[in-house]
Amino acid sequence: MLSFSFPLAFIIFLPFILIVEAGHDLYDGNVPAKASESSHTNNWAVLVCASRYWFNYRHMANALGMYRTVKRLGIPDSNIILMLADDAACNSRNHFPGCVFANRGHALDLYGENIEVDYRGYEVTVQNFLRLLTGRVEPDVPRSKRLLTDDRSNIFVYMTGHGGDEFLKFQDSEEISAFDLADAFEQMWQKKRYNEIFFMIDTCQANTMYSKFYSPNILATGSSRIRENSYSYENDDDVGVSVIDSYTHFVLEYLEGINKTSTTSMKDLFDKYDPEIIRSHPGVRSDLFHRPLEQTLITDFFGGVAHAEVMDTDFMHDSSPLVPTSQVDSIIKDEHSLTEVLSNPTDGTGDHQVRLLRAWGSVGVIGLLVALAILNTKR
């Protein structure tokens, strides 16, 4: 028994030593962060449907379509603030209880079985929306109703409803103006509440809503020009109303082809804009945005995939308690950086190659030891 325990202990402890070694080396593969890459470490989404009443079903569907997409691309419910001004799913006029459809033929139920609406009904007001953005909420307000962002947060803000020249109506009784929104974003910038904002709006004369922005790092896009309407896409005869807006339908359809590791850029999306299909002229405002659009990934805003910030090995040993939590996130980092490194041997230095080889080698050794251990115990 005693003679058995030493190799056993060795087998148990050696992998841990090797893991530490291998882990360091493997994670070093993630280091290169180009200037054009986003430096965010977390993603948030604020999705607002500002319209009440059943006939505005399509606005609910717009916001829910975006909700489904950002959730599919990896932003968790805790980082999504969904505001729905009316209850379309359990409305007594809804022939399909608990369902919201965004297309004719009811192929996809956007409401599903797992949804968290943070602000609903009468709670969707201009005041609550601005308080949410600026963080000036009462102390009692629960976590799920707060935008707990920091200066490393990329925020996707989507708004839909009925609007006009420099305003968007909330609940058909009050309005938010382009100036209010611009000031709220400026306040957020001053309070270090965001790294970058991607603002998207689908309403009539939508492009006027972002015309007043003056804070840095905001990329904005809208569905229609000044004095131009945004139209709905299609009606469903069983639901009885229009089910989605044309612009949002177009964007959602494009995003359906995107997955978590996609390298599609914002420019690709904007280049696809076709006024003929959308039936209005979508606009883009990128003068406040410092990164080139062709290097701004769609997943920087729609995905919950954070880029890890990895520090030097020496530094990590010196101050291990200070290792940022982003270290943990690096495990779920998109895989393309690793595959890039592996597939381009000329790209990396020789030293890097050796370290990588060593890392994989140690993983192999661990595997071998595990196999050995299993064989031993079976015998």
Binding site: D87, G98, E113, I115, S173, E335, V363, V370
Partner: protein, 543 residues
């Protein structure tokens, strides 16, 4: 993630070895029971009552006096931490939250398994006095509303003072309340939001509080599309403390489903699969007991039916029980009426409840109306019942017009006793009318009360002002059976609404008038009118 599997395996293994013991030790202090009661109703519908109860053995609610200090750390294995934190944070020994949609028909469906079936959201809590101002009952009540609204995705945060009352007689604590040092005592806070709706976003966080959410046990049946298609549906969260036992949490879902509507042949046959689109896949291993009960209809109302599979436990008191506690096989209960070709709706439905109540708001005027309540005692004995009416301030009672008459039209004010009335505070607090009514056997009593409808300030109107305001249901609580509460239907009152474009009209009109009147007057006063001789000027300039 090619690189991670060996690493992960080791880490998970190590973690499991470390935590396995701790989980087992605490599981004995917590107990989870689940129960589903299905009740076929004479009108062809099926009432389903899901009840998930978790008992935290030996736990004692936090004393309000300890609110300023650090709390003991919380560790639960079954009891939901999110709810436990709320209870400790605000020192709540007992609270009840229900969110329902639809009107419970007492006459046809009888008394529900869980009494809180009023339309919309209802929240009531018993709380002990705090010491400081920041920990006063009202502050904690507000904080409780906000916490629960965040947890269950409901708009409970709107239940501010406008909706809060303290009707202690109608809502006695269902458990025990811990003893408090001398001057302090417990008091009740109660609020309703009759327009609140319940939907998937409420069920999602609700299911997340269960130890076996939607995977195993009877919670697997809670498919939102089917539950929210029901004629009546509601969620309930009940927390109480039972001295000697511990803190008990009961999560309940009730629904009245209509198999006749779903069936193509208009039959009332039902099965778990037809009602919920699912069967119970396997039992929830964490549950100490997991039972499905079917209340069998009596021979007179039920006809001849068959129930499959055969009840696993003995059938007693016309209840068929299925114990799932250790079952691993799938269970799908079905009840069929083989001799019935088509369900014929019974025409003579005798009321199944002790009392039948009908409440309406009469009158078409936008300033005055009349509240009318008709109560019928369905029992052969005299019944004494508390009557509770909570009215938002925008409907004011004229108490002197209160009239009580019996079935034959004679005045019988003597039946209406023990009345307490708290008038409303305009723009702030609701009115509360409490009384005791004595109902002779098989007697019908009419109550009528004239009301005044308030004129709201422009800013106080809801975005959909034309829809009217929902008034909370009245509550009848039998004195002998305080937990068989009866809720009346909620009402909708039509208040005078302004033309919301009026302010703009006024601004435009007055601006025009100012421009016209003031402008011309100002012109007349300031301008100096002189005669200029052009010929002279021309001649001088040419010179």
């Amino acid at each position: 993630m090619m690189r991670s599997p060996p690493i992960c395996l080791f880490l998970i293994g190590a973690m499991m070895m470390g935590t396995g013991k701790a989980v087992k030790a605490t599981a004995e202090e917590e107990e989870f029971r689940e129960e589903l009661t299905l009740r076929p109703l004479p009108d062809g519908k099926v009432a389903a009552h899901f009840s998930f109860s978790t008992l935290l053995r030996g736990a004692v609610p936090r004393a309000p006096s300890s609110l300023g200090t650090d709390d003991t750390s919380q560790h639960y294995s079954i009891f939901p931490l999110a709810l436990g934190q709320i209870l400790r944070e605000h020192a709540i020994p007992e609270f009840h939250l229900t969110i329902n949609s639809g009107k419970w028909d007492y006459d046809r469906w009888g008394h529900p398994g869980e009494p809180g079936v009023g339309s919309g959201a209802e929240l009531w809590a018993w709380m002990g006095d705090g010491v400081q101002r920041e920990t006063s009952i009202d502050e904690r009540w507000k904080a409780l509303q906000n916490s629960l609204s965040g947890l269950f995705c409901a708009s409970l945060g709107q239940m501010h003072t406008l909706h809060t009352t303290s009707p202690a007689r109608a809502f006695p604590p269902t458990g025990d309340l811990p003893r408090l040092p001398a001057p302090h005592k417990h008091s009740l806070r109660h609020a309703t939001l009759p327009a609140e709706r319940v939907c998937t976003e409420n069920l999602t966080p609700f299911l997340k509080l269960l130890p076996c959410p939607a995977r195993a046990g009877i919670a697997a049946l809670l498919e939102p599309h089917k539950v929210f298609d029901a004629n009546w549906h509601g969620l309930g969260v009940h927390v109480r403390w039972r001295a000697g036992a511990g803190v008990e949490l009961v999560l309940s879902v009730q629904a009245v489903l209509d198999p006749v509507r779903i069936s193509v042949e208009r039959r009332r046959d039902w099965s778990l699969r037809s009602l919920f689109d699912r069967s119970i896949p396997r039992s929830c291993n964490i549950a100490t007991s997991s039972v499905v009960r079917v209340m069998l209809p009596s021979a007179s109302e039920g006809g001849s039916y068959t129930l499959s599979p055969e009840p696993w436990l003995s059938t007693e008191d016309s209840i068929a029980s299925y114990d799932l506690t250790n079952g691993t096989s799938e269970l799908d209960i079905a009840m069929t009426w083989p001799e019935e070709q088509r369900f014929s709706y019974p025409l003579d439905l005798s009321p199944l409840s002790d009392l039948s109540v009908r409440r309406t708001l009469k009158g078409s005027s936008q300033t005055h109306g009349e509240l009318s309540v008709v109560i019928r005692n369905n029992q052969p004995v005299t019944v004494r019942t508390h009557y509770l009416e909570t009215m938002p301030w925008h409907v004011e009672f004229f108490l002197h017009t209160l009239g009580v008459s019996c079935g034959d039209g004679t005045k019988c004010d003597y039946l209406f006793t023990n009345m307490a009335y708290t008038p409303s505070q305009p723009h702030n607090k609701p009115a509360l009318l409490q009384a005791t009514i004595e109902l002779p056997p098989h007697e019908t009593v009419h109550l009528s009360l004239r009301v005044h409808k308030a004129f709201l300030r422009y800013q106080e109107h809801r975005p959909d002002a034309q829809r009217g305001w929902d008034l909370p249901p009245a509550v009848f609580v039998p004195v002998d059976a305080p937990f068989r509460r009866i809720y009346t239907s909620a009402l909708l009152v039509d208040l005078a609404t302004p033309d919301f474009s009026m302010p703009y009209n006024v601004i435009i009109m007055s601006s025009t008038l100012i421009a016209l009147v003031f402008g011309s007057l100002f012109n007349m006063l300031i301008r100096r009118f002189v005669v200029v001789n052009l010929d002279d000027e021309v001649s001088t300039s040419t010179q």
